[in-house]
Symmetry: D3
């Protein structure tokens, strides 16, 4: 169990990040993850700025990003991250059917990963070829 820094005891540089998290997400308090990271303000600030940029809507929609996050977290065995991002995915509209298929893909990938590694399957020539370089823009 780690020390959790509450808003009341937090120094100004931590409160600024907590305030930005609460405003960006429209929540009354930050999750334990941020309260734990607050023991090192530069890491709290850096990780939050990164996450805000990466999880913003873009070429992939926010729900797809949450499901990818769950997949990585399950594959790396992080219980906290699985719990928080499953809740986030649910809040963004993940239905029971989508969740069931997400689980199925995670399970299949985990199985075929280990089979391919155990068998030391050589990468097919078709997958080894690098895609053509992009047209330089400069």
């Amino acid at each position: 169990m780690t020390r959790l820094v509450s808003y009341d005891e937090a120094p100004p540089e931590v409160r600024r990040v907590f305030d930005d998290i609460k405003r960006t997400r429209g929540v009354p308090d930050v999750n334990n993850f941020w309260k734990a990271l607050a023991i090192h303000p530069p890491t709290l600030e850096r990780v939050w700025q990164n996450l805000k940029q990466v999880m913003a809507p873009g070429a992939l929609d926010p729900l797809t990003k949450e499901m990818i996050y769950i997949a990585v977290s399950a594959a790396q065995g992080c219980e906290y991250c699985i719990a928080s991002h499953t809740a986030a995915a649910r809040a963004k509209g993940m239905t029971d059917a989508m969740y069931g298929e997400l689980l199925a893909v995670i399970g299949m990938a985990a199985e075929t990963n280990r089979l391919a590694q155990a068998l030391r399957v050589p990468v097919d020539a078709a997958f080894r070829a690098a895609p053509p370089p992009p047209i330089p823009k400069a």
Copy 2:
């Protein structure tokens, strides 16, 4: 390097699976993964039937499933699976922008997973609550 079973030397129960893979995917030959799995026909048959079911279109579209597959494979460090499913995702329409965001989410998740684990962050009460049971259908 593993032994790869080619179509020509394959016994009938392996050819049947190879034929189904080629027909389902519309490809002239199967990938090395299947040629390697063919050393154990019951596993070849079982894994292919599973994969065919799991990766079929459903509540999640095939491209989303491929990206989830890549996420798990990167998190577990399976080079073969990363190579084959990145090729599959490209073939299903993953653009450079989508790929870049997929990478970004994988990277962020990997980082916050390890931070949450290193800090042993306790799961928030809000994430611990189980969702209400579904209405019994029987």
Copy 3:
């Protein structure tokens, strides 16, 4: 914590799988793993059919299979699976001495894995050679 589907609230396609698990294993109720998977009946059905096939006696005896299962689960850090398969191995006759040696091998393998990876040891030529192809049966 996930939602657990009990027998009483389960729809018919879930009850059918639960009944088969109870009959096959000779147990009065299914473990939490199956109650959790039951939120997605196709995955429940698929995983159970796979597990039943894979764990059946064959060229390897059931206890050896359980110990391999424990090894993978420890190496991937799955607490639930370690707990359930250690109980299963005990029920199938794993003695204290066998369990101690299983732990010792898991620990040594974990250590030499990371040493070989840290050192980037090149695979010996003797291990790279693929075994001769089997005699075609068709």
Copy 4:
């Protein structure tokens, strides 16, 4: 690629370990793993003494130990260790059928591990109970 220390250039404390490996295994030269570890003689000596003790016949036979080693190595993605221990298991009598079932169990365990983690399945009360303490021998 790491530096590999050959017998000819090895200092006496390394040659002593190399000689013991060759004698114990009845082989004309040591594998690359040992040549790589030789850059740090205390670790070479320590790891070899450990491995010799752990892999000796005991309550588990040598082939079962090799298969458990493969399982951990596949689950941790160590290509070198998979290659060397698959060769060792083959040399100790692992048949195609045994190898196929080993792969199948590794794959299933990998899949159910990630499903149990993704679902955060609570450990059943039956698995939580510690076994009774042994009768004190002192």
Copy 5:
């Protein structure tokens, strides 16, 4: 194999990052990692800014940080990262003796990690207690 973006074909926002890497590190060209990340300029920019901040001298010296980097990379099985950070640690003064001890600690930690997980050892009460909260600075 991924597409590698060379300086000559790179768009201005990529060249700007490449120039900063070369200037900061005093090297004539960037490593393949950066050329590969350049396919997604926002991720290239973000990861470089993070790395520059995190690896700068602080409460821990740069060599200690490189050794921690190697430890994580070995534990996660990333060959590229092991290769590049071992080279970086060597350039920052890691001796053969330091490298040997680093390897030994990585190996021991890998072993005891899996033993503690396999045994499901309960965390001692002494380790569970959170440290006292810091004196609020605000």
Copy 6:
């Protein structure tokens, strides 16, 4: 939860190891890890002798070794080991600032590991070259 062997019920060969741990560390009782390992005395003895040798002061100081241990444990997701070695590092003088930077490096390494793996970045020629062989001492 595993069975924990207390000093009072321990056989002589376990008590001897417990006594050495208590004497070496200057503690009144051993941690749960050792009480759990005591179910297999040869493994208890072996792991303790290894750990004592590896963690002794050498070319790396004990605090640096503890931080490397934490890094591996976080990367492999071992909660028990993270807890015990974080306590040990604190006891050896790890300040809040050092801990914060340790976390930051672990997080960055985790992120770039997965990016390098997902992109299948080829190892630079400069990293592939093996260092020159050492001058033979014999």
